[in-house]
């Protein structure tokens, strides 16, 4: 035993505390403060911006930019808390589309981001971008974020398996065509189950974008909850039989490595795929290179819209930023310039929202992974048809309520089938929407 009165364990911990404290003192967090600090939550974005930065820095000698990769989990809540607490926040930050509304909970003047509306009109961006993409970042007509993307949606499929099963993608035009194929090839039981499409029976992910495809959504432009309108009822009553009952054609095992296995082993034959997700397959499901292909989403009715949208990111400039002009310029460079555009596209497959960039040869080029298809061309023809979705601080809540309605309807369908099912969906959505409205009524701002 040591002669330290508190014993050797305490002595050891004291030494650890001192050593680690010294270490941390040597490397303080806010140590070298850059001219602009930018938080991003996507690894792909992070790598891309590192690429574009040198050109920007060359134009602005003496300026430093610190791009930090942070996790999206709780990012918006954390940033919002930091903004209202007056704690150090970055100069610029990327926010995921669902979370943008978090910043709009309080009064308009309390929004922690700069109002960019005038800049957007003055610079001409209002006319140059896919206009629907401003909506998610707008509160009471004022725009607080620059859209990073359009994220049009297509259907990625296992081309090899489709050929083996005699499925002809060209002849699938509507969801009815698609479902007919699904009923034929899906095997829900046995040693090797197989589902035509990845659709979730518990979370709202795909249901939501199919709702968007039909022109539905969670909120309208005035911020009223539209979760229980007739479009939503129709979508839900149509969707549930695809993931429930014995005739279902969709299932979902989760993401990550499990998804990789599920696609490689033919458990899932097709996946609804926005541009950003197509790139993740190229990395994560690399064994399927040359065996995958892309087709537009089946339409609801013959000749209808063959796309929807899934996900999105904005960039905002915080009110604490000391150099808003510089920040704006950096945002323009990162989002809408031709600087390293080919590189950026190669790394992400993400179509920029600025229409005049779509003709870039890199975007139009064929891709080996996708059986030689011109991925960018497919997505850019779909992009103009993407409909707007509207921001709300209650978006997250509404999504949760939709997924609860989905689970309830799946249970109902499994138990009682088609009888009175649509009426049940209507009642259940009404209940969900009422719960959202109750929460909204509580907000005094």
């Amino acid at each position: 035993m040591s002669r330290f009165p508190f014993g050797s364990a305490a002595l050891a911990l004291l030494v650890v505390a001192l050593l680690s404290g010294l270490w941390l003192a040597e490397d303080p967090v806010g140590g070298r403060k850059a001219t602009l600090t930018l938080w991003v939550f996507s690894k792909e974005h992070y790598e891309n911006y590192q690429n574009v930065l040198p050109a920007f820095l060359a134009k602005h000698p003496g300026v430093t930019v610190d791009v930090q990769l942070v996790s999206n989990n709780g990012l918006a809540a954390r940033l919002q808390a930091a903004m209202v607490a007056g704690v150090d926040v970055p100069d610029m930050c990327e926010i995921e589309i669902t979370n943008a509304g978090t910043f709009f909970r309080g009064p308009l003047k309390e929004v922690g981001f700069l109002d960019l509306t005038d800049r957007i009109h003055r610079s001409g961006l209002w006319d140059q971008l896919v206009r629907a993409r401003f909506a998610p970042y707008t509160k009471q007509g004022r725009i607080f974020g620059l859209p990073h993307d359009v994220h049009p949606v297509a259907l990625a499929y296992n081309r090899e398996a489709f050929e083996r099963l005699g499925i002809q993608p060209d002849r699938i035009r509507t969801w009815d065509d698609f479902i007919a194929v699904g009923r034929r090839v899906t095997r829900t039981t046995g040693a090797n189950p197989r589902y035509l499409i990845e659709l979730s029976d518990t979370s709202e992910g795909q249901l939501e974008l199919l709702l968007f495809q039909r022109g539905g959504g969670f909120f309208d432009a005035n911020g009223h909850c539209t979760l229980d309108n007739e479009k939503a009822v129709e979508t839900l009553a149509w969707y549930v039989p695809l993931v429930a009952g014995s005739r279902r054609i969709g299932n979902d095992l989760g993401g990550g490595q499990v998804l990789t296995q599920a696609v490689e082993q033919g458990y899932l034959l097709s996946l609804i795929t926005p541009d950003w997700r197509s790139r993740t397959y190229e990395n994560d499901i690399a064994h399927m290179s040359g065996k995958m292909a892309l087709m537009p989403l089946p339409a609801v009715r013959q000749g209808g819209r063959r796309t929807s949208t899934w996900g999105g990111t904005m960039m905002g400039i915080t009110k604490r930023c000391a150099h808003p002009d510089l920040a704006w310029e950096l945002a323009m460079q990162l989002y809408y310039s031709r600087e390293k555009l080919a590189d950026r596209y190669q790394k992400s497959n993400i179509l920029p929202p600025k229409r005049d960039l779509w003709n870039d040869p890199a975007i139009q080029a064929p891709k080996a992974y996708w059986s030689g298809q011109r991925l960018g061309r497919i997505y850019s023809t779909l992009a103009p048809h993407v409909l707007p979705q509207y921001a709300s601080p209650f978006l997250e809540l509404a999504k949760n309520k939709l997924s609860e309605a989905l689970v309830a309807c799946v249970q109902q369908y499994n138990a009682s089938g088609d009888a009175g099912f649509k009426a049940f969906c209507r009642r259940r959505l009404k209940q969900s929407a009422e719960e959202v409205r109750r929460q909204m009524a509580r907000n005094p701002y």
């Binding site: 808390a81 209202v84 909970r105 309390e110 518990t202 979370s203 989760g254 499990v258 949760n400």
Partner: protein, 321 residues
């Protein structure tokens, strides 16, 4: 209570003491010492313990947007809370989880402790170490590990069950099926806490008077009767303490489901607990007032449950020691 005995001793003159001015500083120092010793704690406790406690009662009467904007709303936070179906689900989930963890965990822990307390047993330390080891893994880390163990189609849990019972579908989604999330949580928490509670029972068993067993044996009691007549009464204070602590811990469940279900409440809120509700509706939204209201409701719930448990088991003061 131990009393300070210098005074008595000085009175009977048996203790030589330093004299004069030295004695005065000595006595002064002795009177002052306890205040100095408790003051660092007391000051911190007053500022960071008591003040927030009182403040949280006031705060629970406001709707807030972060720490700066406050709007007084009276009791409407509480009214909303009790009428919110989500909170109802959170309470139900937490209650179900608490029931199962306590009623599976404690008997299992006691059983293991009884087996481990056999005198002839060699390597008792190794077993104890093995059973206790999960306790070293924090809830977040357990959440990460079990998230991967529960993976459908390719995960260890599904393959293990499938190996024993071939009819079990490999693509069972433990964390993606509203009916299976709770069993998955209970199983993970059993893994974490059985060994922890076992340590308490083990210590209590060792303190039971062995002569009581001999007496019971003479009376012709069989093993089960001995358990009821001697073991249970002997370990009762500890058992109640463990029961109350396990219940309180279960009622505050948060990290395990929050990590395992990837920062969500799970399908159909099946993994939503009271503290998760508090976190999502208070801190994520920045409504600290509402968070306080939920916190106090939870505190009262815990108090009531603990008091009932102590009342029913007839140990009123045992648990506070």
């Amino acid at each position: 209570m131990t009393t300070f005995k210098i005074g008595r001793r000085r009175a009977d003159g048996s203790t030589p003491l330093p004299g004069g001015a030295a004695r005065r500083t000595f006595r002064f120092q002795q009177r002052l010492a306890p205040y100095l010793f408790v003051s660092p704690f007391l000051i911190l406790f007053a500022v960071f313990g008591l003040y927030p406690l009182v403040k949280s009662i006031l705060l629970s009467l406001y709707v807030t947007n972060g720490p700066r904007d406050h709007v007084f709303v009276g009791l409407s936070n509480y009214r909303f809370l009790f009428s919110d179906p989500d909170f109802g689900v959170a309470v139900r989930n937490t209650a179900v989880y608490t029931f199962w963890t306590v009623f599976l965990q404690l008997p299992l822990a006691l059983g293991l402790a009884i087996l481990l307390s056999q005198k002839w047993l060699k390597g008792r330390n190794w077993f104890r170490l093995a059973f206790f080891s999960p306790q070293l893994v924090g809830q977040v880390f357990v959440g990460v590990i079990f998230m991967v163990l529960y993976v459908p189609q390719y995960g260890l849990v599904n393959h293990a069950i499938h190996a024993v019972h071939a009819g079990f579908p490999l693509d069972t989604k433990w964390l993606g099926d509203a009916r299976l999330v709770m069993p998955a949580l209970v199983l993970a928490s059993l893994w974490m806490y059985v060994g922890f509670n076992m340590i308490y029972f083990l210590a209590a068993l060792q303190a039971v008077d062995r002569q009581l067993y001999e007496a019971a044996m003479v009376d012709g009691a069989n093993g089960w009767q001995q358990f009821l007549a001697v073991t249970l009464p002997g370990i009762k204070p500890v058992a109640v303490y463990v029961l109350v602590m396990a219940t309180i811990g279960s009622l505050q469940l948060f990290e395990l489901p929050y990590t395992m279900l990837q920062q969500s409440a799970g399908p159909d809120k099946s993994g939503l607990t009271i503290v998760m509700y508090l976190y999502q509706n208070g801190y994520i939204t920045g409504d600290l007032g509402y968070a306080s209201a939920v916190g106090w409701t939870l505190a009262l719930g815990i108090l009531i449950v603990s008091l009932i448990q102590m009342r029913v088991t007839g140990v009123w003061k045992g648990a506070s020691a």
